[in-house]
């Protein structure tokens, strides 16, 4: 066994870290926090210019041919830096899916726009009545000659207000089982009939509801087969589950350790010297390490040519559940000062723990709820009979 990363991965990681140290300024982080939009055009274009949106692709398709290990290092460093990279993730996901399932025209026209950092994407999967049960999608697409007419509503289309394309799951067939009547499109956001309404969340993030009314979409924006949308979405989902939030867990703990090391209690003793504070910080450290290892295991399997479906799901489940437990424990140990928000005088860890406590709640939901993840692990990983 060897837990050290190959030299080329460490070199790449160092390059990424240097780049991020320069470009992820306090200003960039503050702006993302203030707007709730975890996407920064300046940073995004610089990342695109480095070629990192497609870093994991074969060079023949314009990528850098980086291994799953390098890609995990890239993702880890981005989250560790605190960079607002939701947009990077979605752009990479959509572009990657188009590379695998798109038409030549899409690869020539849309993919380059995304990879250059000029165009952003958002995901149009969830609907009011289709959350975990995403196949219950009711947004209709009806063929009309060489066009499709789309009507419906999508929830949680994060970044829609910045995006140029929505990766839109629609229902095209009512006469077949629900998974078999779906079709995917990559629809330009400036198409007539698309409306974006902001949604504010307890975590401070902005997301959106998008409404689609008589939206006419040319057939060339269709991704994959008619009624083959489920397979396209599954292709994309594989990229979503990993221990990406590990970086946020590290930042959370760093804040808590720094605060506890500086603060003093009523008797002048360092907070970090309190036994139960020490126990909680130590416990959070273990959770971080385990999150990290589960993520690297999945990356390593991918680098060995195995699709880590169950392992990536485990990494996602563990990391996000740990994140919530840790935030809960660590805001507690700050006591009342943990309640102050970022920017307030005297806020423990400048309010970042309070912000994390609110933000982390959503991480067990998107990209597959913990309940969905547990079902996948039980059925696919353990071979248990289908749940009742």
């Amino acid at each position: 066994m060897d837990f050290s990363l190959p030299a080329e991965v460490e070199d790449f990681r160092a390059e990424v870290r240097t780049f991020l140290a320069e470009h992820v300024t306090a200003e960039v982080i503050e702006r993302a926090h203030a707007t709730g939009t975890f996407h920064d055009w300046g940073l995004h274009r610089k990342i695109a210019a480095k070629g990192w949106l497609a870093a994991g692709w074969p060079e023949e398709y314009g990528g850098q041919g980086r291994s799953p290990l390098e890609m995990n290092a890239l993702s880890e460093e981005m989250y560790l830096s605190g960079a607002p990279v939701d947009g990077v993730g979605v752009a990479g996901l959509v572009a990657h899916t188009l590379l695998l399932a798109g038409t030549d025209w899409q690869k020539r026209t849309i993919v380059p726009r995304i990879l250059s950092g000029d165009a952003m994407c958002c995901l149009g999967y969830s609907e009011p009545d289709a959350g975990s049960d995403v196949a219950a999608c009711a947004t209709r697409a009806v063929r009309d000659g060489d066009e499709w007419v789309v009507d419906g509503q999508k929830m949680f289309t994060t970044l829609a207000h910045e995006a140029h394309y929505v990766f839109l799951l629609t229902r095209t067939n009512l006469d077949v089982p629900k998974h078999k009547g779906l079709t995917m499109f990559v629809v330009p956001m400036d198409t007539a009939g698309i409306e974006v309404t902001p949604v504010h969340t307890v975590g401070g993030e902005r997301t959106n509801i998008t409404f689609y009314t008589d939206v006419r979409v040319e057939d060339r924006y269709r991704v994959g087969e008619v009624d083959g949308g489920w397979a396209v979405m599954m292709t994309a989902l594989v990229f979503e589950r990993n221990s990406a939030w590990y970086g946020e867990c590290v930042r959370l703990l760093d804040h808590a350790v720094a605060w506890a090391g500086e603060g003093r209690d009523d008797r002048g003793r360092r907070i970090i010297d309190d036994p139960s504070v020490r126990e909680r910080l130590a416990r959070a450290s273990i959770g971080n390490e385990v999150s990290n290892l589960l993520g690297w295991k999945a990356a390593w399997m991918a680098s060995e040519g195995t699709l880590p479906g169950v392992e990536g799901t485990m990494a996602k489940l563990f990391t996000t559940e740990h994140y919530q437990r840790a935030a809960d424990d660590l805001i507690d140990l700050c006591g009342p000062e943990g309640l102050r928000r970022h920017g307030e005088d005297g806020a423990a860890a400048d309010g970042w723990i309070e912000a994390a406590y609110r933000h982390c709640q959503v991480t067990t939901i998107y990209g597959g709820t913990s309940e969905i993840c547990r079902g996948i692990i039980a059925e696919r990983g353990l071979g248990l009979p289908r749940a009742r």
Binding site: S126, V199, H200, D266, C334, P336, L339, R340, R358, I365
Partner: protein, 344 residues
């Protein structure tokens, strides 16, 4: 043994509950953010004589026992009332213990002119921090060294109300400066310490009742949601993992309610050494946090939308535990009560 509320309590619950259902609707609660203060809610409660309800009738109150105040606290929690109700009720009883010097401010509460609150911690370097209700109170009772004092603000200078997790009217207050120069000593030495200790136990017990009210309301929202929300063709409340989680929470919630009720009962019996207030605050706080967290998460993505009410409960439940301090320290306070102090 009788676990029913009295008829008077049922009437109080009904009256306060009806009023708050309108005056402290989720829309009003949102509108009162981020400060967590709605003058109309205070005025309405004052019109029902709530602030000084726990004070004897000779002093202008209703002579209500803590168990009655707990009913009010529970309704305030259930409706997330944007006013420092628990703090004012505790302050009134504290002032009533020193009517000669505290009479003026007690009258302020009897008349319902505005809130008076208590500081849960002594000042540190001349500064009271995160006083509950401090952002909107006209005066604050605090233990300053060996003096129990009430201080009043001439202006809002030297009072900072930081934005916070709960959107609660917490404030930092600099004592001994121009703006807070009205200072009356209520008691000194052992009497001061005992009075504050008793007030803190009342605060613990009533806050526990407040948390139970909050948690019951949030639990109701969660249960209704899982009955209504369908995924995969069935109500999500038919999934066993959901059911078992809610069953455990229903159980702890019943336990929390009994514990909060018993804590106020014990204080009403005059059991000053009771460990029940500390138990109640710990357990009800933990329960409220678990209940609101589960109810939020059972909403899926909707739980995180500001537009849904459950997040209002979620944020306040956690904060109410923390405003006194790290919950682990409260456990150690309980240990002091139960097992005696640490040696040496």
């Amino acid at each position: 043994m009788d676990l029913r509320r009295t008829e008077v309590q049922e009437a109080v619950r009904d009256g306060v509950g009806r009023f708050l259902a309108k005056a402290s609707s989720p829309e009003r609660v949102r509108a009162a953010e981020p400060l967590g203060w709605d003058r109309a809610v205070w005025d309405g409660l004052a019109a029902m004589a709530v602030p000084a309800m726990g004070v004897s009738s000779e002093l202008g109150g209703q002579g209500a026992v803590l168990a009655d105040l707990a009913v009010v606290a529970g309704e305030a929690g259930a409706h997330l009332a944007p006013a420092p109700v628990v703090e004012a009720m505790v302050a009134a009883r504290l002032l009533a213990g020193h009517p000669d010097v505290g009479g003026e401010w007690l009258g302020h509460l009897v008349d319902g002119t505005g809130p008076v609150t208590i500081a849960l911690r002594p000042p540190r370097e001349g500064r009271l921090t995160l006083v509950p209700g401090g952002a909107v109170a006209d005066a604050v009772v605090a233990l300053d060294g060996d003096e129990l004092v009430i201080v009043a603000a001439a202006t809002d200078a030297d009072r900072v109300a930081p934005a916070n997790l709960a959107s609660a009217p917490l404030a930092d207050i600099d004592l001994g400066q121009g703006a807070w120069d009205r200072r009356i000593v209520l008691a000194v030495g052992g009497r001061a310490n005992r009075a504050m200790a008793a007030a803190l136990d009342e605060w613990r017990s009533l806050t526990a009742a407040w948390l139970v009210g909050l948690a019951r309301a949030a639990f109701g929202i969660g249960v209704r949601y899982v009955k209504d929300r369908h995924q995969f063709g069935v109500p999500i409340g038919s999934f066993q993992a959901v059911q078992h989680r809610l069953a455990d929470l229903a159980t702890t919630l019943d336990g929390a309610e009994l514990l909060a009720d018993k804590a106020v009962w014990a204080l009403d019996q005059g059991d000053e050494a009771s460990s029940l207030p500390a138990m109640a605050l710990s357990f009800c706080g933990e329960t409220a946090q678990h209940v609101t967290s589960a109810a939020l998460h059972l909403h899926g993505g909707y739980g995180f939308m500001e537009e849904y009410d459950i997040q209002l409960y979620f944020r306040r439940a956690k904060a109410a535990r923390l405003v006194l301090g790290d919950p682990r320290r409260e456990l150690r306070h309980l240990a002091d009560r139960l097992f005696g102090p640490v040696e040496g």
